[in-house]
């Protein structure tokens, strides 16, 4: 009975070359699509200032769907090329981060199809992540180092990134809520001024011009809270599974490593947010502040820990 012959090494490298070329080209098209989606979302906001019209926003959403589909194909290709889930290197992690953000946003956006502010933030963040990945990191599929060969590692990364995606969308919605209220206030002040000064009867703007009925505005903000409520246990699991992996791999579940401390800072910031939202006097301003603070802490944990360790000359086993 003849066995399967292994591929000669040269053919393996040729296959890797073709897959990597295809993947990098697809990645540049995805960046283009995210950019188009972001620009179209911004165009929708500009159009909303003059007319209650959402066709441009719908186009932006469809472009985002196309980008997400292409990105899913990219993740699958990378996974096939690597033979395991594609989040082993920083390049792959950035791509995975952008992908999970967009998928989570698409899931949440179905409930608020006419609100396009969050789409701007999510697509901008995804563009930034992919741009950094393409600009700075080596895209070649590399073997996995011994410390990363752990089931705990895979669960840690999947769940942690899912929590990051949820927090990104939550912060986008929180900022959108603040922007909509601010825009509405500014626009109506201007309209009142124009009506008084020029004796005109221009209609005042209401929240429906931005895609949300006034009675649903609090519900929209409540969605932001629900997302953090959903993401917080996931972040907790991410930290706990990371500790379990560290205990198995390095012999210590907690080393006060800068990356670990930053993840604890993120957890504490969101814990503050959840507690503040249970206090009526802190809910309005404190809630928004802690949500945005938690988001920036999350970004610093994911992107900034390497920068922080280099800036202060610190050692971190997570710097890669």
């Amino acid at each position: 009975m003849s066995g399967i012959q292994p591929m000669p090494t040269m053919e393996i490298f040729e296959r890797d070359s073709v897959l990597l070329t295809l993947e990098l080209r697809l990645l540049s098209i995805i960046i283009l699509l995210y950019g188009l989606s972001c620009a179209t979302h911004i165009l929708q906001i500009i159009v909303s200032m003059f007319r209650r019209h959402f066709v441009v926003g719908n186009i932006a959403t469809y472009i985002l769907y196309a980008a997400a589909a292409a990105h899913t194909a990219l993740i699958v290709i990378r996974g096939i090329a690597e033979g395991k889930p594609p989040f082993q290197s920083k390049y792959e992690c950035l791509s995975w981060f952008a992908w999970t953000n967009v998928l989570t946003y698409i899931y949440v956006q179905k409930k608020w199809p006419r609100v396009h502010f969050p789409g701007i933030f999510v697509s901008m963040l995804s563009i930034a992540a992919l741009f950094i990945a393409t600009n700075k990191y080596d895209p070649v599929v590399t073997p996995v180092s011994p410390a990363l060969q752990s089931d705990w590692y895979e669960w840690h990364v999947i769940i942690a990134f899912l929590s990051y995606a949820v927090f990104v969308v939550s912060c986008s919605m929180e900022l959108s809520y603040l922007f909509i209220r601010l825009f509405n206030l500014i626009e109506n002040s201007v309209i009142i001024g124009i009506n008084k000064g020029f004796n005109t009867q221009i209609r005042k703007r209401d929240y429906l011009d931005y895609g949300i009925p006034a009675e649903a505005l609090n519900s929209f903000r409540q969605m932001s809270f629900k997302l953090v409520l959903a993401g917080f246990p996931l972040l907790t699991f991410g930290i706990v599974s990371g500790a379990a992996w560290a205990d198995n791999a390095w012999g210590r579940y907690w080393s006060w490593d800068p990356f670990e401390i930053l993840s604890l800072i993120t957890w504490t910031a969101f814990a503050m947010y959840l507690h503040a939202m249970s206090l009526p006097s802190w809910r309005r301003v404190g809630g928004s502040v802690f949500n945005v603070l938690g988001f920036f802490c999350m970004l610093l944990t994911f992107m900034g820990s390497g920068w922080l360790t280099r800036l202060f000359g610190l050692y971190s086993m997570h710097a890669y």
Partner: protein
């Protein structure tokens, strides 16, 4: 108001928890920028900042008194909050007084006007909730010709989950405290034929240090120079039988720019730089964006050609993908047994866990047939030669090729040479010398260099952590408790059925908790049940 009451109110308050979180954040930020357990000489701060760092001992922020005091206060706040909420749940709640006035004073009331018999509608409504395993809460109906109830879903009050996971945080902090007081760790390097011992006890735990401090405070000090002797039954003796490393080639990308979005895009899409002989028309349409769009279109239409990036690897790239230590373990009064330790596969034995941490090599170096000692930093000099030699990577193990073939690597040592430069402004470049295999003699820099007896040793770290068991119990409690509370569906339903002239009015108020809770579903299903 007496002080103990106000102290209790402060410690049972959620606001206190938020303020403590803010202070904890500040400590975490300090620890993320200052090297924990670092040396003052190694940080770049000067003047007042350095004085502050030294006086407040900010380089040991997580083992310093300030953080420990803050942790104790946070622990007290957590305990009191958890107790306060537990008391609140256990206290028998007063029955809710249901009346039309109750519903007119509340927000989010749903009113349904129903045609039908009052008694039948009352029974249907009550059975709707009972069939879904809702539990009745104590309530009193006030008024005539009205019927009402309060129902909650779930086997227990959702506040219990909150108490549950807050209690698990208490357990986590207790576990961390046990770790802080009683854990110890160390590292041992083992070469073949040189067994090493690992002690199962240590005198250097924080608990022992605290006890000694207290004893010295009371004037009872340990005799000086008392030797710490570990009994034989509290030791493990480890001998290294074999240490193996698996290597694989590390692929690289040919001609790929080190960084830069545009240079990399050029390489991916094969965009050539314009040459000086291009015509004006070619130069106008040679802008980068036009070329990029053109090449994208050509590739998608499959008329571009067969340009691909090139992945390759060279013979000298060795990427370690696994280390395994095969050891003989001997305990007091028991026979020797063989064990394997790998990364992510530690050995747990009698309260000690042994981890594959790293590896080490030793070899004999001969320059012109004379043995040379290499310093701890790996550097050495040779008389008559200007500059410094340096020990580099040592490779010994099994090589796994991409196509599945394996081969034993002939062990070799990499040596580097750095010439000394007269101009200190110019950096001296490290030169890669020829690789030296075990037993080989080669010439380099005018001298005969030989490397012999390359021997691999394993570096194992070990740790005793009695707090870990409690953490393994607390962590799933915390995660599942929080998940259940956040992701569950919790409803409290207040309803009142009032007999009107020809109709029956149903007033409904639903309080919900949990991200998947949706009161509209209950209203829709109840409407169907009552055939609206």
């Amino acid at each position: 108001m007496n002080k103990s009451n106000s102290l209790y109110r402060i410690f049972s308050s959620t606001k206190t928890a938020v303020i403590l979180f803010i202070i904890l954040l500040v400590f975490y930020l300090i620890g993320s920028v200052l090297p924990y357990k670092g040396n003052c000489n190694n940080i770049t701060a000067t003047g007042t900042l350095l004085k502050i760092i030294k006086n407040l001992d900010l380089l040991n922020v997580y083992s310093g008194p300030w953080f420990l005091i803050l942790s104790a206060v946070f622990f007290a706040n957590l305990i009191v909050c958890t107790y306060h909420r537990l008391v609140h749940i256990l206290k028998e709640s007063q029955p809710v007084r249901l009346s039309t006035a109750f519903f007119s004073n509340q927000s989010n009331i749903v009113k349904m006007t129903l045609n039908g018999n009052f008694t039948e509608i009352s029974e249907k409504t009550e059975s709707f909730f009972r069939r879904r395993f809702y539990r009745r809460k104590p309530s009193v109906v006030v008024g005539d010709n009205i019927h009402g109830n309060v129902f909650v879903n779930g086997l227990f009050n959702p506040s219990w989950t909150s108490v549950f996971y807050h209690f698990s945080i208490v357990l986590t902090l207790i576990g961390c405290t046990i770790t802080f007081l009683f854990a110890f760790e160390g590292e041992v390097t083992i070469f073949p034929d040189k067994p090493s011992e690992v002690a199962l006890i240590s005198k250097d735990t924080n608990w022992n240090k605290c006890v000694n401090s207290v004893r010295s405070w009371f004037g009872k000090t340990e005799p000086a120079q008392k030797e710490w002797i570990v009994p034989d039954d509290k030791k493990l003796v480890l001998s290294l039988k074999e240490f193996g490393i698996k290597y694989t080639p590390r692929p690289k990308l040919k001609d790929y720019p080190r960084s830069g979005f545009i240079p990399r895009m050029n390489q991916i899409w094969n965009i050539q730089k314009p040459s000086t002989s291009d015509t004006d028309e070619e130069k106008i349409f040679s802008s980068w964006l036009f070329k990029l769009i053109g090449n994208i279109a050509k590739t998608l239409l499959d008329t571009k050609g067969t340009h691909t990036l090139s992945v390759f690897s060279t013979e000298d790239t060795f990427f370690p993908i696994g280390y395994t230590s095969r050891l003989a373990l001997k305990e007091h009064d028991s026979s020797e047994r063989e064990i394997d330790i790998e990364v992510n596969s530690p050995l747990r034995q009698r309260g000690i866990t042994l981890y594959q941490s790293a590896y080490d090599y030793k070899f004999d170096l001969f320059i012109n047939d004379a043995k040379v000692d290499i310093k701890e930093d790996g550097k050495f000099t040779v008389s008559g030669i200007d500059g410094t030699f340096e020990k580099g990577e040592i490779i010994k193990g099994i090589f796994y090729d991409r196509n599945g073939n394996t081969s034993e690597i002939k062990p070799f040592v990499k040596l580097y040479y750095t010439p000394s430069v007269s101009d200190k402004k110019l950096p001296s470049k490290k030169e890669d010398l020829v690789h030296f295999e075990d037993g080989q003699v080669k010439e380099a820099k005018g001298v005969k260099i030989a490397v012999k007896n390359i021997t691999a040793g394993t570096v194992l770290s070990y740790r005793h952590d009695p707090g870990l068991r409690l953490l393994w119990i607390a962590a799933p409690m915390f995660f599942f408790g929080m998940l259940y509370r956040a992701w569950g569906r919790w409803y409290t339903v207040y309803y009142l059925i009032e007999k009107a002239c020809q109709n029956v009015n149903l007033y409904l108020r639903i309080q919900k908790k949990g991200i998947w809770a949706d009161e509209n579903r209950i209203i829709k299903n109840l409407s169907k049940r009552l055939a609206l």
